[in-house]
Amino acid sequence: MKLNLKIWRQKDANAKGELVTYPIKGIEGDMSFLEMLDVLNEELINKGDEPVQFDHDCREGICGACSLQINGEPHGPDRLVTTCQLHMRKFNDGDTIVIEPFRATAFPVINDLIVDRSSFDRIQQAGGYISVNTSGNTVDANATPINKHAADEAMDAATCIGCGACVAACKNASAMLFTSAKVSQFALLPQGQVEAVDRVQNMVRQMDLEGFGNCTNTGACEIECPKGISLENIARMNREYLSATTKG
């Protein structure tokens, strides 16, 4: 395949970025999107140019590091995959592909296609945990039976990889889907009940402080989420939040 890549290049957080065009050939359908960028980078390095910098690590769709906006969609055209799981067989010979970093005020660009998603960590630090000491003195795990349905639903919420596609997809750059996934996981489990009120309030407060926008129920986040995190989580978080504020 021959392709025409238009890639966002930006030296650092303060520099002005621009789209630069790179023609590339010899791309095979079996390559992943990131392997295609590896090929481009090898070419650039051999020419003495600076390679395109992008975030990635596991290349299996689980670490949440890769984060490209491909033709205007986070993680590209395929559904339920991350960029590293996107294969070039989804593109056609001669295609022009526009590659940009995830865009959101709370995700400032650091370099080329790399953004700073530490705001996500701070939301988790505000309450995305259960306050139990790691002393090894906990009760036997089977002492608290959990019905399979609740456990499975909690698991579904817990599979969020913190990639930020939901934010990048949202016209308001809202972090509701991400935040609600963690709130839901704990809301569904007995262990999470004790701190439920504080947790949801603290996490939502932090989310607002980080400059994420409001949720207007457009649903773009759910469509672009590589892990299929559902909008129900947002509804659940809203309920949790409402009851927390009325109780609080």
Binding site: E42, T134, A141, A158, G162, L189
Partner: protein
């Protein structure tokens, strides 16, 4: 022998750890506030250690090269974590877990460490459940289990195919709680470049801020390395792209012995290599072997026809298939340990029975499982006279519930539907059992430098059974290190903060700066990946699934020459004073180029076959590994002396007081 004191406590095996905990010195809570600990790595081992140390009251600084601790490589573990809970009532016990692990490791691990691991295993599950880790449950609300290769009980706890993810997010949340309290300072996108020793003790690190390129000094009373494994020395592996040996290697150069570098686990169920531009290999969880049957055609002409696309695997009749694991190992069948399964696959492919274009793949087939589950479902739901189509439909649903996400992953990569046609798999480099040598307290040969998780050598011997790496990482981090490090730190309560303006920090920083300058000064012939791929090819061809003396010697010479070429001719664009991913890679590959040579040297000195280390010269008539306990029942611990060729071997003799050494048989 004097240098390698394993510090294994005296007394009966089952009482050692409890006794040791009673004997070690404690640090009073008020004093813990005056003690700083650096934890490098925030995977399962580092994340759990950091959280617990902070919770105990120490001031903790964590480092990781990713943008968030949550992305450490542990996140990728699929299959599960072992614990001797005996919830299934199938006869499991800490002793049995201990026994399976020692046997699985081909009798090359330390008894006392493995026993402690088995003892703590049950605690881990309780801890993680308390943290809200959503393990799989049965309908009655109890935890579900499955089984893994090398054992005859069901002791593996899991969270769909994302167990590592859920356990890591548990440790990450425990870390977050401490970050929120101000007890952990977390330095993300930071790479440890060197270790600083003051009076022979580990007192800090030199790190590079990967965003600004700034070189920083960080001091502490003790340094914990939990930086993962070095499988990426092979270039193609199941490891995350950034996994590296740098931190461990820098400590090695400063005096930490490197143990058993040649013990590498090759995992039997990975998606085969598809082309030259491939950057990594993807694992298909071992849990698939609970239901999948592994086969190749019985006749070579069928294999050739399949490779040429003239024959489809589903067209091959049952009697024309060779279920070689079931044939060779009737007792364990498809659930033999990984080293055995990997070698058996290689043997069939080398003999010409491989099924993909390159002849390096075997089938993992779910057709009989779909049939079996379908019939079971029809029965339990009272569906009489179900036809084949209905049975297949019902069976597929069960298989989907168990392995759906793995099947989906396979389909995305290979573009074939594994419900309809058998998966193709081939062994790939997966886990490194070698690492920094540590004593029972997890201290390296550098005082005050501790090492946990995959980065250390302990517990797994020459091979690792499935679901035991996660277990070791969390046991080390939550339950072992926080105790043992206290014993060391109890002597440090009057030391006060460690200054970073000392000559030792100056010198270490200069070493780092000089190295970066040297990397940037390469003449610019080839990219970093060019060298990494070359190294990987030498490693796979000559230090891979089978090794022999001649090839290992060649590998040593070739790697040494490649290293010289790398330093003279590598090309790194850009500058060192900002973000530069090529420079990051270069630093890591530079260390792989030293480790690779030591790896080959270690394999060359070990004149036996055991676990993941298979020397062609040492095998039985049936092609099984031939161990030599008389001469090689030791841990090789290498001391740095400049070039890898000059490294000095120290041996820690392994004593088996509670287990009889037997030939490992899974027949």
């Amino acid at each position: 022998m004097g240098i390698l004191d394993s510090k294994v406590p005296k007394g009966p095996l089952a009482a050692k750890w409890t006794q040791h905990k009673n004997d070690i010195n404690l640090v009073n809570p008020a004093n813990k506030r005056n003690i700083d600990i650096i934890v490098v790595g925030t995977g399962l081992a580092g994340g759990s250690a950091a959280a617990t140390l902070a919770e105990l009251g120490y001031n903790v600084k964590t480092f990781c090269y990713q943008d968030s601790p949550r992305r450490a490589h542990s996140i990728a573990a699929q299959g599960g974590i072992n614990a001797a809970k005996n919830y299934q009532g199938d006869g499991d016990s800490p002793y049995r877990l201990f026994y399976d692990t020692i046997k699985g490791g081909d009798y090359r691990s330390r008894e006392a460490n493995v026993y402690r691991l088995a003892e703590e295993s049950a605690n881990i599950i309780d801890q993680c459940v308390a943290q809200g880790v959503p393990f799989a449950r049965e309908y009655g609300g109890m935890l579900d289990n499955r089984s893994f290769g090398g054992v005859l009980v069901s002791r593996t706890f899991y969270a769909k195919g994302q167990t590592g993810q859920q356990l890591l997010l548990g440790a990450y949340s425990a870390m977050n709680r401490q970050i929120n309290r101000g007890k952990i300072q977390s330095f993300n996108r930071h790479e440890m470049m060197d270790m600083v020793l003051v009076d022979g003790k580990a007192r800090g690190i030199i790190a590079r801020d990967l965003v600004t390129g700034k070189i920083e000094r960080h001091s502490a009373h003790a340094v914990v390395l939990a930086t993962g494994g070095y499988g990426n020395v092979f270039f193609l592996s199941t490891n995350a792209m950034g996994s590296n040996v740098m931190a461990a290697w820098r400590a090695h150069r400063r005096g930490a012995f490197f143990a058993n570098p040649c013990f590498t686990q090759i995992h039997p169920t990975c998606i085969p290599v598809s082309g030259d531009h491939q950057s990594k290999l993807t694992l298909m969880s071992e849990s698939l072997r609970n239901d999948g049957r592994i086969w190749v055609p019985k006749r070579k002409d069928d294999a050739i026809a399949i490779r040429e696309g003239k024959l489809k695997p589903i067209q091959l009749k049952e009697e024309d298939r060779d279920y070689y694991l079931e044939r060779r190992y009737p007792a364990f069948g498809n659930l033999v340990p990984r080293d055995v399964a990997s070698r058996a696959a290689k043997e069939r492919c080398d003999a010409g029975f491989g099924v993909n274009k390159t002849g390096e793949a075997v089938y993992l087939d779910f057709a009989s499982a779909i049939q079996r589950y379908g019939e079971e479902e029809a029965l339990t739901h009272g569906i009489k006279n179900a036809d084949d189509k209905e049975i297949t439909r019902l069976g597929k649903k069960v298989v989907e519930a168990k392995y759906g996400n793995l099947f989906q992953m396979y389909e995305k990569i290979v573009d074939e539907n594994p419900y309809e046609t058998p998966m193709m798999i081939y062994p790939a480099v997966h886990y490194t059992m070698g690492g920094l040598w540590v004593d029972y307290n997890l201290q390296t040969t550098i005082e005050g430098c501790y090492c946990a998780g995959e980065a250390n050598f302990s517990d797994h011997g020459a091979n690792r059974l499935g679901a035991s790496a996660l277990m070791q990482g969390l046991a080390d981090g939550y339950f072992v290190l926080p105790y043992t490090i206290g014993d060391y730190l109890s002597k440090d309560i009057r030391t006060g903060a460690i200054p970073t303006d000392s000559p030792e920090f100056d010198a270490a920083e200069k070493t780092v700066q000089d190295r970066l300058d040297k990397l940037m000064a390469g003449s610019g012939q080839h990219s970093v990946d060019f060298y990494h791929k070359k190294l990987g090819k030498i490693m796979w061809d000559k230090c891979g699934m089978a090794r022999n003396a001649e090839h290992l010697q060649e590998a040593i010479d070739e790697i040494s020459a490649l290293r010289a070429d790398f330093w003279a001719n590598v090309k790194i664009p850009g500058k060192a004073d900002g973000m530069n991913q090529e420079l990051e890679k270069a630093g890591r590959v530079a260390d792989f180029l030293e480790l690779g040579e030591l790896f080959a040297k270690d394999a060359l000195t070990r004149n036996e076959s055991c676990g993941g280390h298979f020397r062609e010269e040492y095998q039985t008539a049936e092609g099984e590994a031939l161990r030599d306990d008389e001469n090689f029942k030791f841990v090789s611990a290498w001391e740095y002396k400049g070039e890898p060729k000059d490294a000095v071997l120290h041996k820690e003799e392994l004593k088996y007081e509670n287990i009889e050494l037997k030939t490992r048989s899974y027949k």
